[in-house]
């Protein structure tokens, strides 16, 4: 219990420190700097990082990137998951095998060829399409959908088919309403990916007005931060803005974010 408490402190302290550091007028790395000091507090770091990387624009970019991935995963992922669980068609075994294989293909192996294809051949650098493409359908989410659809009683589907409902109608009217928790789980799982993703958008966006916040902030850390008045304050202010949406979403839906869902998803 005490060990858990110490552990929780070690895990949460950096986040508390992130917030304190983002509010400090002058960097104070001493022990006293851990406590909030009203004389040394300011929101100036936030306006400074906003002036450097335009928080609004980059947040919108992160939002479009994440939203695009979520939309594709939910629409095409549900269709694929339903087909894999409930429909018999030629090629189902192949598709299922490909899905399993996908989980062990490391992304780094295909980074360079994918970069060649998307940037050089298709000319999709600095575009949301190029950013979204590699993550468009989250295979783990497809797997979660399939697992949920498999759990539904087959009689339900047989009955609907006998009534003459089309498969799309069955999916929308019968299956999806019964697996709403799966939609939420998949949304939460998928959201973290593109929102936090760094390497891929970093590779393909050179224009500032197309970069997601994570990329813009990292460029600030590596290049321009030296010129800022209180660089660490500005970095931490940007970090707070980047961290807040994911943490907020997680805190709101924590109870829905159950271990069994994730477990069944990743075991794929």
């Amino acid at each position: 219990m005490i060990a858990l408490g110490i552990g929780a402190f070690l895990f949460l302290f950096p986040f508390y420190y992130m917030l304190i550091g983002s509010l400090q007028k002058r960097k104070n790395p001493s022990l006293a700097g851990v406590l909030p000091n009203p004389g040394n507090m300011t929101l100036h770091n936030y306006s400074q990082i906003n002036a450097a990387i335009s928080l609004g624009r980059t947040l919108i970019n992160s939002g479009i990137f994440t939203g695009g991935v979520l939309l594709c995963t939910l629409v095409f992922g549900v269709l694929a998951g339903y087909a894999l669980a409930r429909l018999q068609f030629r090629g189902r075994g192949t598709l299922f095998a490909a899905m399993l294989l996908l989980q062990v293909v490391p992304f780094q192996l295909i980074t360079v060829p994918l970069y060649v294809l998307i940037v050089r051949n298709y000319g999709l650098s600095d575009s949301f399409l190029g950013m979204i493409a590699p993550f468009a359908i989250n295979s783990t989410a497809v797997f979660v959908f399939r697992q949920y659809f498999l759990q539904l009683p087959p009689e339900l589907f047989e009955a609907a088919r006998i009534d003459g409902a089309s498969e799309l109608r069955i999916l929308l009217g019968v299956a999806i309403p019964l697996v709403k928790p799966a939609l939420l789980t998949a949304t939460l799982m998928t959201f973290i990916g593109p929102w936090n993703e760094f390497l891929w958008p970093f590779l393909i966006t050179k224009q500032h007005n197309k970069q997601p916040l994570a990329v813009a902030l990292s460029n600030f850390i590596t290049t321009t931060s030296a010129t800022a008045q209180n660089p660490f304050g500005a970095i931490l202010a940007g970090a707070c803005v980047l961290a807040a949406p994911a943490i907020a979403l997680f805190l709101v839906f924590q109870r829905k974010f159950t271990s069994t869902d994730i477990g069944s998803g990743v075991k794929g």
């Binding site: 929780a8 950096p14 986040f15 894999l84 299922f96 295909i110 980074t111 060829p113 994570a214 477990g263």
Partner: protein, 327 residues
């Protein structure tokens, strides 16, 4: 090999619902005799092809084709050109592999990732199993603790890297606390400490996810085993060793495998925490070198070779791990 290990597991779990042949038994025989030709060629629900098509296209374009192209590039001289411009791309055999392996930076990067894995993987497995076991028992504030361990995982690496830079700086809080015990030069610019610091950072960042995997596995360990163990007078530690650890063996295999794959993908942390793999390339990761070679220095063919080598390395380590765990 990893796929072979995963797919039978899946069919076993889904066995009662028959994942690959889900047709309900009663109507099957009646239908088989009256199947029309589209049914025979396309299956009983041809609409499934339409439903699965976007996903199939995605797999083909985003994974299968680049995978093949990657291997192709690693055996040819390949340079970037504008679309449509034809340049010869001659077969060069293992030349790109030779170039990659004779580069001391590349060799250093592979050594670095080994150091990383030696620290990160055992630490991850032990800490996440112990914490998951503690979190699985009835303790006050359980959901608060779960949340606390989970927060780093849901947060972007780029964001928390900022705090770690602040904490582990030369005049950062950690060094102030340690006083003369602090390494000099400081953690992230110290040739001995740079890679271990990154390994600790990643362990801290990813632990919540692995705790979650173990929590799921612990649900499946039968409660009766603990009851009979405590009737036999086994201590808590003894129960942990004889019931919990064997009970979550499959999860341990998965956690180890995923930790290795995550480690092999390492890029953001050395790039940002240690300013592009310094000091002296002592914290460069293979993916970082792959990025520098392929995109900064315009040698995509050598970069592809590094990628293939990295994957072979991961498969070998995963294979050894499988062999070790079999007995």
């Amino acid at each position: 090999m990893t796929t072979a290990q995963i797919s039978p597991d899946d069919s076993r779990r889904g066995g009662h619902t028959s994942p690959l042949d889900g047709s309900p038994a009663p109507s099957r025989d009646a239908r088989r005799n009256h199947r029309s030709w589209p049914e025979r060629v396309l299956g009983r629900h041809p609409v499934g092809i339409l439903f699965g098509l976007p996903y199939a296209v995605f797999i083909a374009i985003i994974f299968a084709y680049p995978l093949v192209l990657s291997v192709y590039m690693s055996f040819h001289r390949y340079i970037f050109t504008a679309p449509g411009v034809g340049v010869p791309r001659p077969w060069v055999g293992l030349d790109n592999y030779r170039t990659a392996l004779s580069d001391p930076l590349v060799r250093q990067a592979f050594l670095n990732i080994l150091i990383f894995l030696v620290i990160n993987v055992p630490l991850t497995v032990v800490l996440s199993l112990v914490l998951a076991t503690a979190l699985n028992s009835a303790i006050p504030l359980r959901s608060f603790f779960r949340g606390a361990y989970y927060v780093p995982y849901v947060t972007a690496s780029v964001a928390v890297v900022g705090v770690w830079l602040f904490l582990f700086n030369t005049d950062g809080l950690v060094n102030r606390l340690l006083g003369s015990l602090a390494p000099n030069p400081s953690w992230l610019i110290n040739v001995h400490w740079a890679m271990p610091s990154i390994a600790l950072f990643v362990t801290w960042k990813q632990l919540g996810f692995f705790i979650l995997l173990y929590l799921a596995a612990l649900q499946a360990v039968p409660k009766e085993l603990y009851e009979s163990a405590s009737v036999d007078g086994a201590s808590k530690w003894r129960q942990f060793r004889s019931v919990t650890v064997p009970g979550v063996r499959h999860a341990t295999t998965l956690v180890t495998l995923l930790a290795i794959v995550t480690g092999a993908n390492l890029f953001t942390e050395p790039y940002l925490l240690t300013g592009g793999g310094g000091p002296d390339g002592k914290s460069a990761s293979p993916v970082l070198v792959l990025y520098q070679q392929g995109i900064e220095q315009n040698h995509p063919d050598v970069a592809a070779a590094i990628g293939v080598l990295l994957v072979i390395g991961v498969l070998v380590i995963a294979g050894i791990q499988q062999l070790l765990e079999r007995d």
